[in-house]
Symmetry: C2
Subunit: 321 residues, 2 copies
């Protein structure tokens, strides 16, 4: 076979050194709290694995198992607790709109997953800092960084590693000319990912159960940020020209049709289920079967960014009081 | 028949005088902008009706019809436009999580529907102002009011009108002893409503397609705010003791079983469909078949509150600059 399978662990390793070095420079060991509000054994296993990875990189990790009815108060407690630097919640808990409500209860300053509305809105608009206006008014540089959602960020980093991002092109346009298919348009991964890749110059076909949308900066990527519209293009048609196919269907039964994959395409699966059939290796040039180990690196990088922000905010407070 | 049907228009009338008087005191005519991002003729009709009611009470109303792909930018434009005092969006637009995202794009200071996360979180926690901490630090009274979601607020006002709230009891406990069934647990109406009524002392059975939850401040309403837990109680059992039954099922086929209604109960329907069979009148003491006309009064009251807030925020800005 002429293609290669690339494991997430290979890419994740590149970040361990950077992260452990940064943790050692900090005055105290950073603390991440994970909240588990359901009794799904798979979620518990995943939470334990997060914990092990954290500890191995020098972080403190504390898993707090709470009844779902007590979750909101538990999150608010952690928001107020100065000993806690980062918070994550293992969803689904209620598996309805209440989960989105709970996600927004997590303090913006401790949201390692980057799912606070302000972060997501900044991401769509390609805004990198939270204090742009204050900095402008004060004549200084902005310092409070906006946080990117972990999973989409992990996929961007994977695409950089796989050289899909072309470093000869100017920063911000490095996916110019690339066609991407993403099968998933959730608010947590699929839609932000489509926006991120389109903002970097790609033409993205975003597919969900209802329809397909094209995310693009237009002919010649003349627009400064992406726009999206519905399209009638079939999955087969979109895939035929796709340089990259990314899947995230949370179903054991779903398989992306190997016959749709363009010879030499890059295939990435971020679902916990295997969305590609093993036969995809006969078509794909590079195949990444799962991404979890890169995602957790992004989570910890976000945590380090948040700690920078927390120190910055504290310094500003002390300077004015 | 011994019961009475109470029309929303009767209750709404009580607010027209208060609202028009307040509008006349303002230095300029308040402006509400409604965004329509779908081509549902029913939504368009509803939007036009909102407009007529607004104009009849002295407000300016502008309906902006935009493509759904352009809605976010259009909302951001209205957020920045000082001539716009209030913004509402006719949902569903995408009919998925993107709608919740768009709702949060509406500026908190212009959110007449009271659906901003901060407002909803304050409502669950019975917090009435946005500037409590700043006021405490400055040794002054808080002035920036939190906004309650329109539809739950309308139902509270209807229950006050129907004397379900007992004014002999202390404010905040006026539903003590009342059992309420609510068939709907959406994040926009059913869940906040259950919380509001339980916070006021009621025992609320909140029913949705998946399960039933009890919202209560506990035996003797000793807790200061509600707690909710799952329960196995059947709808029939819950309804048998219910003083109030409130329905909000968005389906033409759903009818609340009249035989479950306790003789003399108060029945309120907030769905646009008729969730009670006409036979309910033989059981209910008071029956409110729809609530839209009260809801719009609450929307306009919220707009007036927001204008108060906007003036307050402006004054503070001028005082410090």
């Amino acid at each position: 076979m002429s293609g290669r399978t690339i494991l997430a662990s290979t890419i994740a390793k590149l970040y361990t050194e950077e992260i452990t070095a940064k943790v050692k420079q900090l005055q105290k060991v950073p603390k991440l709290v994970g909240f588990l509000g359901n009794d799904d054994p798979a979620a518990k296993m995943y939470a334990k694995w997060t914990g092990k990875t954290c500890e191995s990189l020098g972080f403190h990790y504390e898993l707090r198992e709470v009844e779902k009815e007590d979750l909101e108060e538990a999150i608010i407690g952690a928001n107020k607790d100065a000993a806690v630097n980062g918070i994550m919640v293992y969803f689904p808990v209620f598996n309805n709109g209440q989960d989105q409500y709970l996600q927004q209860v997590v303090s913006r300053n401790k949201d390692v997953e980057g799912l606070n509305h302000k972060y997501i809105q900044n991401m769509y608009h390609n805004v990198r800092y939270l204090d742009i206006e204050e900095a402008k008014a004060a004549g200084t540089e902005p310092q409070i960084k906006s946080i990117l959602p972990c999973t989409p960020l992990a996929i961007v980093k994977i695409l950089e590693y796989l050289k899909v991002y072309n470093s000869l092109l100017p920063y911000g346009n490095r996916l110019y000319g690339k066609n991407v298919v993403i099968v998933n348009r959730s608010e947590v991964v699929g839609r932000p990912l489509a926006a991120l890749l389109a903002n970097d110059g790609a033409t993205v076909y975003s597919v969900d159960i209802k329809n397909t949308q094209i995310f693009t900066r237009g002919e010649g990527i003349k627009m400064t940020r992406h726009h999206s519209v519905d399209t009638d293009i079939s999955l087969e048609e979109a895939a035929k020209n796709a340089d990259v196919i990314i899947t995230g269907v949370p179903s054991a039964n779903y398989k992306f049709p190997t016959e749709y994959v363009k010879s030499g395409a890059v295939c990435i699966n971020f679902s916990s289920e295997k969305n590609f059939d093993p036969s995809v290796k006969e078509k794909a040039s590079l195949y990444v079967p799962s991404i979890g180990k890169v995602t957790i690196m992004m989570l910890l990088r976000n945590l380090l960014r948040l700690i920078d922000n927390q120190i910055n905010i504290e310094e500003k407070k002390n300077a004015t009081s």
